[in-house]
């Protein structure tokens, strides 16, 4: 969240890909059914700002990442400033501030998984996806692999999240099969 590269050896967030995305057109997300769904969420809180994390999830679910234009739309809908929204987005690790591969792979390497060999699971994913390094997206746009801090499934080492799916007890050997089953 907060630290420079000195504190962490591996990439824990996706690196920006080549090229800029600021000029891409942004189709509004909060229209029709999505707007109605947001209104239901808004009714649950005494402030509009409280719907910020849910709104950012809706944006990311719709667009795959949280763009500058997306931030501006969320800010307008919730009547807060884009700078404020960006400050919140950058605090949380799960909002992608850059486009990522179609399959976003997060491998837990915190201590409980580390003692069970999680680093070899990371190596296996890097090798079989062709991503090259942590945080980079494979040339075909299919995969991004990152290390993630404790996924809260320590008894099922090594847990891996691929998009919204949780896979338990992953070993280096099971990686090719897992990748082959991805759509």
């Amino acid at each position: 969240m907060s630290h420079g590269p000195s504190a962490s050896g591996g990439a824990l967030v996706a690196a920006p890909p080549h090229g800029h995305h600021h000029d891409e057109p942004h189709e509004p997300v909060f229209v029709g059914e999505t707007r109605a769904a947001l209104d239901v969420i808004l009714s649950r809180y005494p402030t509009k700002q409280a719907a910020l994390l849910p709104a950012l999830w809706m944006l990311q679910d719709a667009r795959g990442w949280v763009s500058e234009k997306g931030i501006e739309e969320v800010a307008a809908v919730l009547e807060i400033t884009p700078a404020y929204v960006k400050g919140v987005v950058s605090f949380y690790t799960m909002y992608h501030q850059h486009p990522v591969g179609r399959h976003f792979i997060q491998v837990c390497t915190t201590t409980p998984c580390n003692v069970c060999g999680a680093e070899d699971v990371v190596k296996s994913f890097l090798e079989h996806t062709g991503c090259g390094d942590l945080g980079l997206t494979s040339d075909d746009g299919k995969y991004t692999v990152i290390e993630v801090e404790c996924l809260g499934a320590c008894g099922f080492a090594t847990p891996v999240m691929i998009n919204n799916d949780f896979i338990e007890s992953v070993t280096p050997e099971s990686v090719p099969r897992i990748l082959s089953e991805l759509k």
Binding site: M1, T47, E149, G155
Partner: protein, 442 residues
């Protein structure tokens, strides 16, 4: 039943009774197992009466701090103000994965406990904050909430009691610190998850500035059983000579152990029997070297210390550590403690919210030193520097993340100093730091 292993005969399954039983996940299934009877009973009780039962039961918070639940609830008075209940489902303390199983297998058990807790603290609205990565738990709890609304269990006239109880699920977005109670409230309000300075405490000014109670998933899921069966029933669980630690507790076990998973035992259980009998001991041909018994933020125990420890709040303190969240991390004789402690400090460096300088700088600095010792580039002077930084990180910040980073370093250096010194002795490089002491100089 137990999950992923069947319950051991020495376990006391209360909360975990239906782990692995998919039938318990549905509203009908939960009702068939006696679910929502406690809520029905509680909604007819005066909130203060419920607070008294919970106080009498001896239940203490299961999130890590162990604060008496009934006392926490008694801070909430019928003052006519808007009150909120927060359920902390941000489970992210390394080594801990018990709330995940509660939410995945018994989502209605949680919803029942949350609704009951809301009524007990004079709140009409409760929020269940679940960490963003727990997608399956979120799906299960969301479905339980929807079904409970559809059945009239939640809403304007909860179970026909005439009382309003609203329960909403709020998904986090990746931040360990949001498990800290005031950081969670900031996150719920749509802010960065920075912990707040206390006082004011949440009971005075919490969520949206209103009097708020925040309880852990396990704590709230326990309450319906107490309300249904009575405080005396709950008091049977625990060792007779320690009335301060009452009840059953879920322990998550991970790392180098034969049967990792969740186990529910009565507090006061001998840790040695737990590790070697229930959890099957170390992997074949290995020996246990060290154990962190209560989540990564509590002091490390040597094998000998662990084998003599008792699994309750006071027992763990007597062994120089804490019960914490009940997340047991086992290290066997293959593990390098320097390497694993360095990995833990890196976790805290990544998760620091960075508002206090002791934490922001200290976690990063301590990680750099730990990693250079790990990589064979350390000096003896580094060990003193580590302790000095750790001292400056403890008890000086808004929340205890900073202390939590210092803890494994201090306890690790105390108990496994020889491993640090061996790493340093193997350092082939010249002395470059003026005045640095070198173990290899002799």
């Amino acid at each position: 039943m137990g999950y992923p292993h069947p319950s051991h005969p020495r376990e006391t399954p209360v909360l975990s009774k239906y782990f692995g039983d998919a039938g318990a996940r549905t509203l009908d299934g939960w009702r068939q197992r006696g679910g929502y009877e406690a809520l029905q009973k509680a909604l007819a009780m005066d909130p203060q009466e419920i607070q008294t039962v919970v106080k009498d039961s001896g239940l203490r918070g299961r999130g890590g701090a162990g604060f008496p639940t009934g006392m926490k609830w008694s801070f909430m008075k019928p003052d006519g103000k808007v009150h909120y209940l927060c359920c902390n489902g941000d489970e992210s303390e390394p080594g801990t994965f018990k709330d995940r199983e509660i939410m995945r297998w018994t989502p209605h058990g949680l919803v029942e406990g949350v609704a009951l807790g809301a009524h007990a603290i004079y709140a009409e609205t409760a929020y269940i904050y679940i960490r963003g990565e727990f997608t399956e738990a979120i799906t299960q709890v969301n479905r339980a909430v929807e079904d409970a609304y559809a059945a009239g269990i939640l809403g304007a006239n909860a179970m026909g009691s005439g009382k309003r109880v609203d329960v909403h699920v709020h998904r986090g977005a990746g931040a360990y610190i949001c498990g800290e109670e005031t950081a969670l409230m900031n996150s719920l309000e749509g802010r960065r998850g920075n912990p707040r300075i206390k006082p004011p405490f949440p009971a005075v000014a919490g969520l949206f500035g209103k009097p708020t109670t925040i309880n852990n998933v396990e704590t709230l899921t326990t309450v319906p059983y107490i309300v249904k069966n009575g405080a005396e029933w709950y008091k049977q669980f625990g060792r007779p000579d320690n009335p301060k630690s009452i009840g059953t507790k879920l322990f998550s076990v991970c790392g180098n152990i034969s049967r990792p998973g969740n186990y529910e035992v009565a507090l006061g259980f001998p840790f040695k029997e737990f590790l070697y009998d229930l959890c099957g001991g170390p992997l074949p041909g290995r020996e246990i070297k060290a154990v962190i018994p209560g989540g990564s933020s509590v002091p490390i125990l040597t094998r000998e210390e662990a084998e003599n420890a008792i699994m309750d709040y006071e027992g763990m303190v007597a062994s120089g550590t804490m019960l914490g969240s009940g997340g047991v991390i086992v290290f066997d004789d293959r593990q390098c403690m320097v390497r694993q402690i360095a990995r833990l400090t890196r976790f805290y460096a990544h998760e620091s919210c960075a508002q206090c300088s002791q934490c922001r700088e200290g976690t990063a600095w301590i990680t750099r030193i730990m990693e250079r010792i790990r990589d064979g580039q350390g000096t003896m002077e580094d060990l003193d520097t580590l302790l000095s930084i750790a001292d400056n990180m403890s008890g000086k910040t808004i929340c205890v993340l900073s202390d939590s980073c210092a803890t494994p370093v201090v306890s690790g250096l105390k108990k496994f100093r020889h491993e640090f010194e061996a790493k340093i002795a193997a350092n082939p490089s010249k002395v470059t730091v003026p005045g640095a002491l070198r173990a290899s100089a002799a």
